[in-house]
Subunit: 418 residues, 4 copies
């Protein structure tokens, strides 16, 4: 007998669970796209995205997904033939690098071991080696969604500074934005790419690119793809030029509402809530790891994303568990993505097959009944399938919630949720 | 710090959590109310309500809440001065009796101890005592929402039959319909009152009254309140007469969708799912009862509602816990309602104050991540507040889910949920 | 070929067209019904209903439709056997009187000719005749939806005052509330009944009863139907007692939003808009009346409702036209209701069969493209069906809009519509 | 006094009015993006888009707007340096050509006089001149949204065939798809670009590119922008590769519903409805042209788009009228876009300033009350502003509706609209 008939529960690392408020805000008639409230709404969104990212520069919204944001940033910053130093922590860091290669950019890659951040010393060394300053930009993910690893952006920034290298810093914050703090100005991030469907709690469809002055002018007046070209978007004649054509009306309604929610809660509280709930996941997995083979893929807490956790299993168990949760309990866990180690010769070895890993998304619109429900359903699945696991995971998770709620560093705001 | 910012989670015994499908079905333009699809929709709803209740008689929908349904049934079955034998298992059984008194009906009440069903032998005795057959009808709740107690309808029916008494049987299925099976024809239920906001997963606003032939004609042509009078509703000239005026258009859209969901899953599976999830709640509370004062209010499993569970606590703990869950975790538990014992002289003594009890609703659109999330959040609250409780509650609940899902007596249907 | 595939357009006298904002407000999760924002929302609604009606007394909301509101007012004001003087302008005035009779109230009726208001002199005479002051209350519609006639409430009030009669004044404002101004205090209205699905732009499901001090206490402590009894609703212990049980959560969300819209536009502007748009309808029908048999049923402008217009046709044409509009153009007109003249002997003669009349609703959420679209579609139907009609109706309607918009007595507010 | 408080009425040439069904379909929880129903939904959409376009080739959906579709088609068909022969009928034909230039494609343009289609003889001549077959592709709009002119695709196809030139034919059907029939296979269209927010009745956010075999392989294995590259999208490994990353989940839900509506009505009936309603607009404007300066910009009916009509006015009147309609009546008309004539030296002269033109969108979800309401509101605005115009426009439009509905060539389907 399946018990799945209730709310389908999505616990994947994006798209994340959509607040009722956001869906409601999107359920409205088509607006005028040349004048009126859509214009004000858009400008307020751009301002709030910058505010959330600590960016004193400019903000762009592309109709597209995260990959669109990647391409937009690359096309406007790097000409074919110019060199990008790409940091790789998993499938997404590597994917961005691959996109650059396809665009004719010359790519040099530093591969981290999956589950570990990129060692800043390696970045510093690579930049020092580039005495001719041929490297025009460094790209990195903040958190890699596939391995659930987080890089230390401040340390990477420091490495660039220490190397006294003029490379631009391009950051993929797709997985982390709205979950993990970022301060573009303080970190000297020149271009920051994100998307609306994770921490920003909006259905997929918008890529967001936040830029500083250096990135804005990186390619001067060089011709480039009109769709990605950010120059007319930043200095539009008619309003639709901000979007190279018809604006994404309903996504703008949704994103406006999501940002309202975020600022009503307060960005600091949002980030603290993500950290607390991530701790709750880790407490559970640590308890499960007491017997059998489950464990958090990223060993050290400070290297873990607060938005997604990858859980190692015996090969095959991850898939069985995901199937059980979906079929019997109405809950969808994130698929495992194969993680490879790449040696100095560029040879790839699979370190963790996709079938030996699953991921729990814990980003965005999330509170204890939702997250504890996820963990408890996994626990039920482990029991139903006879997958060996340590005891006490749920009590540990509940204790983590109790401790976090009790710590009360920040006063609760009085706002409407739903 | 509050962690409440996610989906507000409602774990009260109605209104229950609304499926997205139901809300979506209600989000539509106003329809023609004299002809067209609304008429067909309504007729199909009435047929499906009867099907779900095993009623070969007629179905009525009143714009109103459960209390409206109570009054509709009373007004059409009993004239002022006629006698009702009312069974009382808590606030709702007693409330219905009180309504009858206010309507001028003569009421004789049998009070059960809160947390226990009414002893069928007492019903039989009372009916046997009524040699003049002055008792025109017997009223009872199926499950009482305040005490979470369930009566054994078959045993009550048998008592009436054994007493060879012609009284009509009126049943309040507000808390149980769609959760616990009922077969009106087999049980000889003459009038069955329910509402749309619990097992039927629709926002409050509709009272449902299902009747058999005897109830339909109980008062013959006697005049009565036009709004409650079911005669024109059962034989309408123009369609709106089914509702004594403008029909509840959007609630009909919603209820149609909810019934579609229920029949897509299959009523047997729906009832089995409720029983399984109730077992999961009881497993958790039983574990908590290992230390401290928490325990299921209704002692014996066969006396418990599968739709709601009342949990006894030390006086005051229930309120502290409810507050914590709402404020810190975004979850609303059901309030405790004071339960009284009434002696043979009619003197009431509070047996369980409202502050020493809380209720967990587990009715309607519910699956493991939702229910386990509820239980785990309560567990976190107990820990945060230092309320003594036994260990292992969540593991027990997860095991109960694992066992129920694994039992697989019924093949899972392949339908769309959300 | 049908051209109907677009928005279904409802031009009936209620339920009226629902604003997107209202439907959106109703599309949300089930709330806590004992505490929290639902309580505040409800209290604010009650206050705003009173404000809109100029009532310094109290406001009640019943889950029900307009007929429920009728019964609630009668049950709380009049005991069986007491006398009501009922004014009849059509099916609804008469319907309310019929309900009183069924409730055991002694009813004396003054019948107006359909299409005419009740002559205040007749009311005055009837009250003067009642030297014993046996008449406890006078009931009247403000506007009768079936005949689209409006009574002059101030003149009726003056008649009661001139007769120096203590009868309570009960008014049915179901068709007029939110369209036509009413000032309960100034008019000495003791109980005012309305519903949410017309000028209040909310799906059907709520009856509203606004009362003054005299009505509140009219029956003292006399027992009455618990569902209608307004005493516990006005002095609730727990919040749900305001609704005699579970509150109509989603309708409250919707009505709150509708009232927000109404106050954002401004009640004066709302009323002026209705008057202007009604004038636009009349201009069109007057032009059609230049040839053939179409004409506004109510002859004199000051006797016409601003919320609905009944249009006389040759017998049968009304039905053909309604069918054509629905089938070919996706537009639903209001059905005609047979209107009868009742002579002094109580003998009824059909004055206007339902098939010789249709009605255009022009209440609530309505602006020129909607209303002119209605009129132009009727015009197309007349042409398609070869129903004789005068020329220039649409130009006349457009001119009426041009003139009204141009008159600009009131400055336009800057608010969000949709 | 403004009368605008009702449904905001959008009469612009896209985004078009959204059906309730479409918005409702989009109001749902986030789905699994790797497996399950989203995959089937997407495949069914792709098949139905091809079916609607008469394409036996392949279909692609890009997250983007119409401009994104333009770029996708160009990038996959033409390498930098290759030659495109671009036909220009207004801002959009010219815009596509400009995009090609920016992408490094060599562009040769044939400029039509605004308001006229491109003479096929000029296309034939240009292709004959290209004896070396340097022209790799011909691009044209089907209908240009700015001038509301339609090209005769069959004649253009014939011109290419007559010239026996191997150029690929690229067509922009953004304004026409779902309104005007197209048969890609029969017309030999190699790539057809459209978007979801006009005839497809879905909020903006999806570009659609339908291609045949020759276009699919036009650039062989040449590297290109990964986001636009259609090769991995046509042969995806994991499902998200169809969208180069996260799929546009909610837009897919919406588009699926819109296509359901379109096929329920029947594509032939949809196209016939658009033609009939366009005729209704033209009848009104022709009547207005009886006095003053209003007239349809495109002189000959066979050159007019059935989805949008541009109306010439005295300079300045267009803007005054648009302002009045928006402010006083809640209706938004399409802005005028300046139309230029370009001589053989490439010198542009403004033929129609934007301020001397407005546009009426009549595409998608549209029926008589909506369209006649638009025309009647314009008529009211002309009167209010004292803009000279001929009489009888609305009667003429109503007659056109009466005639079209009466012609009844196609039997009406019995389906749900809203």
């Amino acid at each position: 007998m399946t018990l799945a008939f209730g709310r389908d529960h999505l616990a994947i690392p994006g798209p994340s669970i959509l607040p009722s408020r956001v869906l409601r805000a999107m359920h409205r008639p088509a607006p005028n796209i040349y004048a009126g409230s859509l214009v004000d709404t858009t400008l307020s969104i751009l301002a709030d995205l910058n505010r959330l990212a600590g960016n004193s520069g400019q903000a762009l919204i592309y109709i597209g997904n995260g990959h669109a944001g990647w391409e937009a940033a690359l096309v406007n910053v790097l000409a074919p033939g110019e060199r990008l130093l790409a940091l790789d922590n998993g499938r997404f860091g590597r994917g961005w690098a691959g996109m650059a290669t396809a665009l004719g950019i010359e790519v040099q890659t530093l591969h981290a071991t999956p589950g570990e951040p990129l060692d800043p010393a390696r970045l510093e060394a690579a930049l020092r080696d580039d005495t001719a300053h041929r490297i025009r930009a460094v790209s990195t993910v903040h958190s890699d969604t596939s391995s659930a690893t987080t890089n230390d952006l401040a340390a990477l920034r420091a490495a660039i500074d220490t190397a006294a290298h003029p490379a631009l810093l391009l950051v993929d914050g797709i997985c982390s934005f709205g979950c993990e703090p970022v301060d573009m100005d303080a970190l000297g991030i020149d271009a920051y790419v994100t998307a609306c469907q994770k921490g920003l709690m909006t259905p997929p469809g918008l890529a967001i690119v936040l830029i500083g002055e250096r990135a804005a002018n990186a390619r001067g007046d060089a011709p480039r793809s009109p769709y990605w070209d950010w120059r007319p978007r930043l200095a539009p004649g008619m309003f639709p030029e901000r979007f190279c054509g018809t604006p994404p009306t309903h996504h703008l309604f949704g994103l406006r509402e999501a940002l309202d929610m975020l600022f009503e809660e307060g960005p600091d509280r949002v980030m603290a809530r993500h950290r607390a709930l991530a701790g709750c996941v880790w407490a559970a997995v640590d308890a499960w790891s007491g017997a059998g083979e489950l464990r958090v893929l990223v060993e050290r807490r400070e290297h873990r994303s607060v938005a997604v956790t990858a859980v190692r299993t015996r090969d095959g168990d991850a898939e069985r568990l995901r199937d059980w949760c979906e079929r019997e309990a109405g809950m969808t866990l994130g698929i495992g993505m194969a993680l490879e180690r790449i040696d100095r010769h560029g040879t790839a070895t699979v370190l963790v097959p996709g079938s030996a890993q699953f991921r729990i998304g814990h980003m965005g619109h999330l509170n204890p009944p939702m997250l504890l429900g996820t963990l408890a359903t996994i626990d039920a699945g482990l029991k139903a399938l006879g997958i060996a696991h340590g005891d006490g995971a749920l009590a540990a998770a509940a204790s983590a919630v109790a401790d976090a709620a009790g710590s009360a560093a920040v006063t609760a705001p009085n706002v409407t949720r739903d």
